[in-house]
Amino acid sequence: MTRIARYLKPYTLLIVGAILLLFIQANADLALPDYMSRIVNNGIQQGGVENAVPLALRKSTLDKINLFLTKEEQNAVDAAYLLIDSHSPDYQTYLSQYPILAKEPIYVLKQLEQNQIKTLNPILSRGLLTVSFLDRILANPAQAQAMGKGLGFDLSKIPSNFYQIFANMPAEQRAPLINAIQSRFNSMGESMISQMSISAVKAEYSALGVNTTSLQNGYILKTGGLMLLITLISVTATILVGYLAARVAAGLARDLRKAFFVRVSEFSNAEMEKFSTASLITRSTNDITQIQMVTMMMMRMVFYAPIIGIGGLIRAINTAASMWWIVAMMIVVLVGIIMSVFSLTLPRFKLIQSLIDRLNRVVRENLEGMMVVRAFNRQDFEEERFEKANRDLTRTTLFVSRVMVIMMPLMMFLMSGISILVIWVGSHQVAQSSIQVGSMMAFMQYTMQIFFAFMFMSMMFIILPRASISADRIADVLETEPSIKDPPEPKHFPEPFQGVVEFKQVCFRYPDAEENVLDDINLIARPGETTAFIGTTGSGKSTIVNLIPRFYDVTCGAITIDGIDIRDVPQHELRSKIGYVPQKSNLFSGTIESNLQYGDENATEEELQMAAEIAQAAEFINTNPDGFQAEIAQGGINVSGGQRQRLAIARALVKKAPIYIFDESFSALDYKTDAALRRALKKYVANSTIFIVTQRVATIKNADQIIVLDEGRIVGKGKHHELMQTCEVYRNIALSQLTQEELA
């Protein structure tokens, strides 16, 4: 991955931006469970009452509360509340909010800071609870005895005018009782008191005549609104990340593809062969698409998973630190499952691929050899071969599928099991009042977020190696320097261009090969003459002509044209002098015209027609209703091999080059067409230097100079009749093709 990282450089800013946005998104996502739990805790369970500090309370209630508070606490409470009675300026507004105001004065909470509420909360919850407890006893003396069970004294004995008596007591006398209550509360725990006092607040609100439903709805709406706002932030962040990721991924793919294409365009044949054309195509299509997808995924999810995973962990621990072990256990089990399932299946995925290849191969062979299969009546054998490949594939697929199938129910079970565990452990903690029910719910949400984060991170370990293989395959190509380059200070061919090609003690060896393919090659080819190469397969005759346009460079010696070493001129200039017809006649998709014009973009219609006629292609072009506009499919597969070859020849002729190379260019032509073509050609390219590589003696019988090659060396040089006398190899070749009589 690191090897192609530099192609991400132009996108650094976008990536950093995306990561920042991911942090925002993660924080928003993590905040959401908190709002959820607030809606459940405060909104539903507590009826919209957030804490024990009421927004308003009756003067009578506050007075009672004050009885149980210390002097300092009383001052704090008094400072927070404002007395409202019929003389107050805002009397009417408050009256509509708190209808009780008509009967008695009330206290209304002033605007307070968060921390002031925090200090008031325990004070008021203790006060409120005490008062509401006493009120209930006083209101219902009959039940008092039962309610006081375990308190150590009989509550029913409390006099009905308790508050009056208590108020009249001196402070020193009240203190022990206050302390007793305080210690009792201490044993109950802050959270429990806070929750219990909520109902006291709600009771006080109903006493005030407040509409508690709208209070609750108001709270839910407010919190829900905040929640929506946060979701909106999260959504915006996600969309923006998606935008940035899409641009980076598509951009990276575009840049890589471009760099790749340009690099391959510079390659010489040596590099093309090193990688193989098929592999280069796969690399520039599949591998780059793979990189694009992984980049997209990295930016949107892989970066996100650790952020939310760690964030979720922090929040989960903050919510209920005592349950950390549940999270830890979950992660261990989760990662364990994923890793074991994948270590079991991943190698087999590769196996499946090769089994599919094998299956395809059997079918392809069967299809290609259809006639042979039927001629020898071996259909059964073919079916058996297929059967075996099919059975192997089926067996492995079944195994992998069945292992993978276990993933889903296991994961599902793990998640449910964790939830149940959280509820069980959590409810004990709730009973001990160390957490609230809502917090437990929030904890559950966090564990699920952590669950998915870790699941994703484990997947990442499986995806990344694969992507890095693709990256390496691309980088291998990008980092390969083309072996043939233009010289830094190029020379140029002298004008007028002659086209005298000379090989001076040339030898050639393929890269990484141990032996020379060509050795000690010396020859001169002159304009207006035909030089033919003949020899057995592997004798190096094709290699020789491939050295002239510098598809390869000579290993030793030199090739000169008009006295200039071809390595000293720019490749472009050199190749502009050569009309080349390759062994494999490659046509490009387009029309016949566009293919011929590949030789010369500015060729006129007459020139194209002329070239087609010489190449013996005019007949089939003209019989086609579309003529020169006839479509050519990619690779020229919609025309026959012979037609393709003739078009490739015509394409080279359009170029009107001073040097022509025909590399086994007549092989797909029958003798008649071959002869007609050569006859026409002779007139057209009379002044060019011509090279012909062939295996047919008939094709070159009349060449000015025939070079016979054997195992990379020149074993004969001369005209047909001379070689028939002097060259054993040549005679053997000729004899195998023509009868004595014809050779004469």
Partner: protein, 651 residues
């Protein structure tokens, strides 16, 4: 560059079914569904969710008929499949109960807490909670277990169907008339055997259970929601039309760019393939600059549609999330209102919230399913179409079996065309005596192999008859007829296996000695022994470990081993080195000794040595006779022959 399904290729799932970064609550229960997509092996095999799945794919011409056939094809698995459907329903139903039961636990907990506060009870009833949790745990275990059983069985069924499909296609290939393959390229058939079959497999193994679970989930969740509160359900339902609208909007948008992207990706890849394939031509004609210019243009266009397509397909998930949260707040408000009035409990609200969040997922999936089914039907249709193609006409009753074949061949007013509208052989008659050599001559592409195809009954004549030893070839069993011929084609066909197996191909019961004797007669023995592994050497995929000439010799050995009374030889045009060429000539001469031989000839020497020459032009036999007769005629053959000897100065 075939688009084979590749299990190694892990496609990311941008629509994020497996992972919901924006997820608010991930309730434990019905989260099954997203998992189902995200972790399944098939999802990684390529189809997955993703933008592709949302795109309208190809559709079957006859959806209903194909589906019926597919069900029929399930055959013995119909019962098992119904059982699997029951399992899926049960598994989903159990998991749907989960949140409700867990909600009860929450309610109990709540009541306990409230009781503790008000002092009216002893606090939290852990026994009750424990019981509830155990019930829930039991349900989850059961649900997971059933889900696994279901998956286990269904993969078995799917894999078996795949296996049978492939087997049937492979068998079908060998039963079809050759004619079919004239109009169909190999890639197409290969694509049926891999891609199309795979699509059906995936649907069976995943989509089928997904459809079931999605439907059950939607219905079940709806019921559960209704049992909790119809008012809240109503509120929850309000978001549906909204989400549908948005889904449709986004999908229609991204579809445009997706198509464009695929389009340009095709162009770019096509250009790459073409330019890399024709690298040498590009270089020779100094075409690099032009090629890069074209490439850059295509590449830039691809970029601008690619990022838009990717971006739009990724937008769906967060937007749907937002809408989900909108519904969530509505439900909570409604729930709070009802809770105050003691119509529902807090635990119920908790459960309801989970149900709401699980409601959208299966609905989005169901929205996709029609596409998936259409794709499946289209794939299955292609497979069935292939399987239903006509077989070769069966052999007739009352067949003739010859003890001894002398090799006399008579063409009696043969009329033939690859299609009835285009008759190429108009009226051909000839009588060939046993042991004669017949050269078939004609320019490239004249249709020289047509006669061969008729002789071996790869095609039947439209009119007239071909007789062997006086019997119409249609009266033989095809296998018997073909056994009378040995065939050596220029397009040497060998298969992946050992050299021994390849030679033995023509006579499976041949002993090793017989094989080696044939190899010697074909001059194969010598070079085989120089190869690593000798006769046991495995041929590789492109059979690049043998030269073209060596391959030709092997096919000759194969024909010699078969020892047929008649021969069909396709002479190699060139591309064989001289030494091997001499060997081939000798081997062929050995082979032809005493047998009636049809030779598609390129060498003049072969033609001249023939007893009879058939001259083919545009598929028809235009002249026949001996070399001298034909030359004397001064017709097409003479013209063809003389072109060889014209003194052409050029070469």
């Amino acid at each position: 560059m075939t688009n084979q399904s590749n299990p190694n290729q892990m496609k990311p799932n941008p629509s994020g079914n497996g992972y919901k970064p924006g997820g608010l609550t991930q309730p434990p229960s019905t989260q099954i569904n997203p998992m189902r997509r995200g972790l399944n092996p098939g999802a990684m095999m390529g189809r997955g969710g993703g933008p592709m799945a949302m795109m309208k794919g190809e559709t079957a011409r006859d959806f209903k008929g194909t589906m019926r056939k597919l069900i029929q094809y399930l055959g013995p698995y119909k019962l098992v499949t119904s059982f699997v459907i029951l399992l899926a329903i049960a598994s989903t139903a159990f998991s749907i109960l989960g949140p409700k039961i867990l909600g009860q636990a929450t309610t109990k907990l709540f009541e306990g807490v409230i009781g503790q506060i008000s002092g009216s009870s002893q606090g939290i009833d852990f026994n009750a909670i424990g019981r509830i949790l155990l019930t829930a745990l039991g349900l989850y275990i059961l649900s997971s277990f059933l889900a696994y059983i279901q998956g286990w069985i269904m993969t078995g069924v799917a894999v078996n169907i795949t296996y049978r499909f492939r087997r049937d296609i492979a068998k079908k290939i060998n039963r079809m008339p050759l004619k079919y393959f004239d109009g169909t390229n190999h890639g197409e058939i290969l694509s049926r055997i891999t891609n199309d079959v795979d699509t059906v497999n995936q649907t069976l193994s995943q989509s089928l259970s997904q459809i079931i679970t999605s439907v059950v989930t939607v219905v079940g969740v709806l019921i559960m929601m209704l049992t909790i509160s119809w008012q809240m359900t109503l509120v929850a339902m309000l978001i549906l039309p909204l989400s549908l609208l948005i889904v449709r909007f986004i999908v229609s948008r991204s579809q445009i760019y997706f198509k464009e992207q695929q389009n340009y990706l095709g162009h770019v890849n096509g250009h790459i393939e073409e330019m890399f394939g024709g690298h040498i031509v590009v270089k020779a004609f100094n075409g690099e600059k032009r090629s890069i210019e074209t490439f850059s243009f295509l590449n830039d266009t691809l970029y601008s549609s690619a990022w838009k397509s990717q971006f739009l397909s990724g937008i769906m998930m967060p937007v749907m999330n937002f809408i989900g949260n909108l519904g969530f707040v509505g439900v909570v408000i409604m729930g709070g209102y009802l809770a105050v009035r003691n119509i529902i409990t807090v635990g119920d609200i908790q459960a309801f919230i989970q149900y709401v969040r699980n409601f959208t997922q299966p609905i989005t999936q169901l929205a996709n399913i029609s596409n998936v089914l259409q794709q499946t039907a289209a794939a299955a249709e292609r497979v069935f179409e292939f399987l239903e193609e006509e077989d070769e006409t069966p052999d007739i009753e009352n067949l003739i079996q010859l003890e001894h074949v002398s090799g006399q061949v008579v063409f009696d007013h043969v009329r033939f065309g690859y299609s009835p509208e285009r008759i190429i052989i108009k009226d051909f008659s000839a009588e060939i005596q046993p042991g004669q050599r017949i050269a078939i001559v004609g320019p490239t592409g004249a249709g020289k192999t047509t006669l061969v195809k008729l002789l071996m009954r790869f095609y039947d004549v439209n009119d007239g008859a071909i007789l062997i030893d006086g019997h119409d070839i249609r009266k033989f069993r095809r296998a018997d007829l073909r056994r009378m011929f040995g065939m050596v084609l220029q397009d040497t066909w060998l298969f992946g296996g050992t050299l021994m197996d390849n030679i033995r191909y023509s006579k499976p019961d041949a002993t090793e000695e017989e094989v080696i004797a044939a190899a010697k007669a074909a001059h194969v023995d010598h070079f085989v022994r120089t190869l690593p592994g000798g006769y046991q050497m495995e041929l590789n995929e492109e059979t690049t470990n043998l030269s073209q000439g060596q391959k030709q010799l092997l096919t000759i050995a194969r024909a010699i081993l078969a020892n047929p009374p008649m021969l069909i030889l396709d002479e190699a045009t060139s591309s064989v080195d001289t030494h091997t060429e001499v060997l081939i000539q000798k081997a062929m001469r050995n082979l032809m000794e005493g047998r009636t031989s049809f030779i598609i000839a390129h060498r003049l020497s072969t033609i001249r040595d023939a007893d009879w020459i058939l001259v083919i032009r545009d598929g028809d036999i235009v002249e026949q006779g001996t070399h001298e007769q034909l030359l004397a005629q001064g017709g097409f053959y003479a013209e063809l022959y003389n072109s060889q000897f014209e003194r052409v100065e050029i070469g």
